[in-house]
């Protein structure tokens, strides 16, 4: 294809990518380097239906407006927002490392900082849910593949259900089920014979519930991809393996898994990216007390009575960096394989 034709062909996508991906990312980065203007405060009298009149501080809007016009983006803060307590907390970590009473204390106090608390859950979610969901998906795919034809359709439909429903609704359904009066919660209390056992009360159990939800909702995607992959496994190879006396497990181990390995890379890539942005289950499970994630921090900065755009921007940039770092090994591997094939 001549370069010109190729360029004309991809131009619309290129424009869309610049408009909808590159520009927003640039704007978020710029935003993250700025903080609000210094507010000019004045004392005024404030009269309310209860409590009569009091003297309180107010923002002097005219003076603040003048500041805004002089610097429309806000005050330049450089990497200040990235380094403050809400994010990387450089000073706080320095203080913790300088004076502490052992490793446990260091870990505890760093975990107390909001960013590291969120990062800890985000990473655990990524690295526990992704492999387990892939294993679950693979197991379902193998099972469905072995089913007689007429039953395959309905089984596939039901296996896909967790993926079809919206994540927020899915998490709410599970949340209601694990309540002490829900079907799962009540059953667990019955099994352990402990009427005070609640999956929502302790951090550990909350984490386990969230991880279980993650595996449940991510499994179907792996299943669909692996099931499609299973249809492409060469029948000849399988047959010859059978003639050579390979058991079902040996066939899976030495024929099917190597055949599906490139697909697994693809699934891992997509799932890691998805899981790093974990958000809905935390809201759905009302788990903010015990588990937060980077996406939840962004949401928290942008909602509520006062919005902090610079802080949300900095967390967003750190999330993007996190995704890049996470995907690096996989990307490097894919890039090498691609190069090998070209040569």
């Amino acid at each position: 294809m001549p370069h010109k034709t190729f360029f004309a062909f991809i131009l619309p996508s290129l424009i869309a990518m610049v408009l909808f991906i590159a520009l927003p990312v640039v704007s978020v980065v710029v935003q993250s380097l700025h903080v609000e203007h210094g507010r000019v405060l004045v004392e005024v009298e404030n009269c309310q239906p209860f409590g009569g009149c009091t003297t309180e501080l107010r923002v002097d809007t005219a003076a603040t407006e003048a500041l805004k016009e002089a610097q429309p983006l806000g005050q330049f803060n450089g990497f200040g927002t990235y380094l403050n307590r809400g994010h990387l907390a450089v000073d706080e970590i320095g203080a913790i490392l300088a004076s502490n009473s052992g490793l446990g204390d260091v870990v505890n106090r760093i975990y107390n900082l909001p960013f590291y608390k969120a990062l800890a859950f985000t990473l655990v979610y990524c690295f526990v849910v992704t492999p387990l969901a892939m294993a679950l998906g693979f197991a379902i795919a193998l099972a469905v593949n072995a089913l007689p034809k007429p039953t395959k359709g309905p089984v596939i439909f039901f296996s896909l259900l967790p993926m079809i429903i919206t994540p927020l609704i899915g998490s709410l359904i599970l949340y209601w089920m694990i309540q002490p009066r829900g079907i799962v919660g009540a059953t667990i209390q019955e099994i352990f014979n402990d009427p005070t056992l609640s999956l929502r009360a302790s951090p550990l159990l909350t984490w386990l519930s969230l991880l279980a939800y993650g595996v449940w909702t991510n499994g179907p995607f792996s299943f669909v991809v692996f099931y499609a992959g299973l249809q492409t496994v060469p029948a000849d190879t399988l047959e010859s393996a059978m003639i050579d006396g390979a058991s079902r497990w040996e066939r899976i181990r030495y024929v099917i898994i190597p055949h599906l390995a490139p697909l697994a890379t693809f699934v891992a890539l997509v799932q890691l990216m998805d899981n790093f942005r974990v958000f809905e289950p935390i809201v759905g499970f009302s788990a903010e007390a015990n588990a937060t994630s980077l996406s939840w921090m962004i949401f928290n900065d942008l909602s509520g009575d006062a919005q902090l755009f610079g802080s949300a921007g900095a967390t967003s940039v750190l999330t993007i960096l996190g995704v890049v770092i996470l995907l690096m090994p996989v990307l490097v591997r894919t890039w090498r394989e691609f190069n090998r094939k070209v040569v």
Binding site: V35, E36, H37, G38, R39, L41, E43, V44, E45, N46, C47, Q48, P49, F50, G51, C53, E56, L57, R58, V59, T61, A62, E65, G74, Q75, N77, T81, N84, R85, G86, E92, N112, P114, Q179, P180, T196, S198, R200, A201, P203, F285, S286, E288, A289, N290, T292, N300, L302, S303, G304, D305, A306, Q307, L308, G310, S311
Partner: protein, 412 residues
């Protein structure tokens, strides 16, 4: 089903046209009224009453949504503003004031506000910036039958509440007699603000945005909040105001701190287990420590008019809203809220809010940086409430989080 749907639709249309035919708010001239409000029964009622003002020249639309706080600043920043009326409370008026998005109402009050009472006018720096129409506060709901059975007097302080809870538990009446909306987020922070207000201390150093809760009063507030959790359902950290109302109505709770605006729905005949509604007593919020005022923030709900709209739209909006909160509407719906309107006869559901206000409870603070403190409280108190952190550490965390946010917000 289809027939049902058609009937409903036609009945609805009939209702609307009938309303328009009888409406007479006497709005002079033309204008467009566009209301943005929170979403609960009293506000929906005001919106639909204001909608009666629609006529040939006047259009009235209303958007009642729980997301109103996130919408209002961007929607009122553009010119002309997306909404002409923003219905606000003590806290949600602050962002609008900070960005100068609402207009002083003194001339409109003079022209169209003859029915308003002086204490409905929210005056800031001598200018009327909002018209309040209802009051609200969290206060005590308790079951008199359970307290009698346990042999304790009705509580008036948090110390009494804890003693009563112990007695109820000891008598084997309930395992978890207390409930409070302490879900991390807005609810948990509001609970701290309520209790701290009861100590009589201030949140900030006078005349600055410097936080001042890192003291004995702050510690006592946290101790009380933590002591209460001993008598709450183990899932307490996931309970918001609606969840504790459900627990209470199910008969699982004997004493709770709940919103006055939910009192009507709690003591009505619907949805409660047997014996709950008729034994419920509404009372002022309890005091804390040696404090003498009820430990609860008083709230008002009111309306404001956007700055970036034409004077014609502003006048039409003001008149429509005055009609929306008219004494006639209040007379017909006196049980729905604690109205701050001329001629309002408090119903049984308003007892608690009025007792709290009469007890001298303080208003929710309106400082420009209060929202930042509320957010800091909402995220940093969770670990303490779960029992994983000391009160000192929790207060230090709140201070650190607030300082970071206030610096970023340009207040420190």
């Amino acid at each position: 089903m289809n027939l049902m749907l058609k009937t409903t639709v036609s009945l609805g249309v009939l209702g609307l046209t009938a309303g328009a035919a009888f409406a007479d708010c006497g709005i002079e001239g033309a204008g467009s009224v566009r209301i943005l409000s929170n979403d609960f029964e009293a506000l929906r009622l005001i919106n639909s009453t204001a909608e009666e003002c629609a006529s040939d020249g006047v259009t009235v639309t209303a958007n009642a949504t729980a997301e109103h706080k996130n919408l209002q600043v961007p929607a009122l920043s553009i010119n002309p503003a997306e909404y002409t009326v923003a219905v606000v409370a003590n806290n949600s008026i602050v962002p609008l004031l900070n960005d100068d998005l609402i207009r002083p109402l003194d001339d409109l009050v003079e022209q169209y506000g003859q029915d308003l009472m002086p204490n409905q006018l929210i005056k800031i720096d001598g200018k009327t910036m909002a018209i309040a129409f209802m009051g609200n506060a969290q206060h005590l709901f308790y079951r008199k039958d359970v307290l009698e059975e346990a042999g304790v007097e009705p509580p008036t302080s948090y110390e009494d509440v804890l003693a009563a809870a112990q007695a109820i538990k000891d008598a084997g009446l309930m395992d978890y007699p207390l409930a409070a909306s302490v879900k991390p987020g807005w609810d948990l922070a509001a609970e701290f603000v309520n209790t701290y207000l009861g100590t009589g201390a201030e949140f900030f150093e006078a005349g600055s945005a410097e936080l001042a809760i890192d003291n004995e009063d702050g510690l006592r507030t946290l101790e009380i909040m933590r002591a209460m959790t001993e008598f709450m359902d183990p899932d307490y950290l996931t309970f918001d105001a609606n969840a504790i109302k459900a627990e209470y109505e199910a008969g699982n709770v004997a004493i709770m701190n709940e919103w006055g605006s939910l009192a009507g729905a709690t003591i009505d005949d619907e949805g409660a287990a047997e014996g709950v509604a008729e034994n419920t007593v509404l009372a002022a919020a309890p005091t804390v420590g040696d404090g003498t005022v009820p430990a609860a923030a008083l709230w008002w709900d009111g309306f404001t008019i956007a700055k970036n709209v034409s004077d014609e739209d502003a006048a039409a909006s003001f008149q429509a809203m005055v009609h929306g909160i008219s004494p006639e509407m209040v007379a017909e719906n006196s049980g729905v809220a604690t109205w701050l309107v001329e001629g309002y006869e408090p119903g049984p559901a308003a007892v608690g809010v009025i007792a709290t206000a009469n007890g001298g409870a303080r208003a929710y603070p309106m400082q420009p940086y209060m929202g930042l403190l509320h957010t800091a409280l909402s995220t940093e108190l969770a670990e303490f409430m779960a029992g994983n952190e000391s009160a000192e550490q929790a207060l230090a965390d709140v201070k650190a989080a607030y300082d970071t946010a206030a610096r970023e917000g340009g207040y420190l």
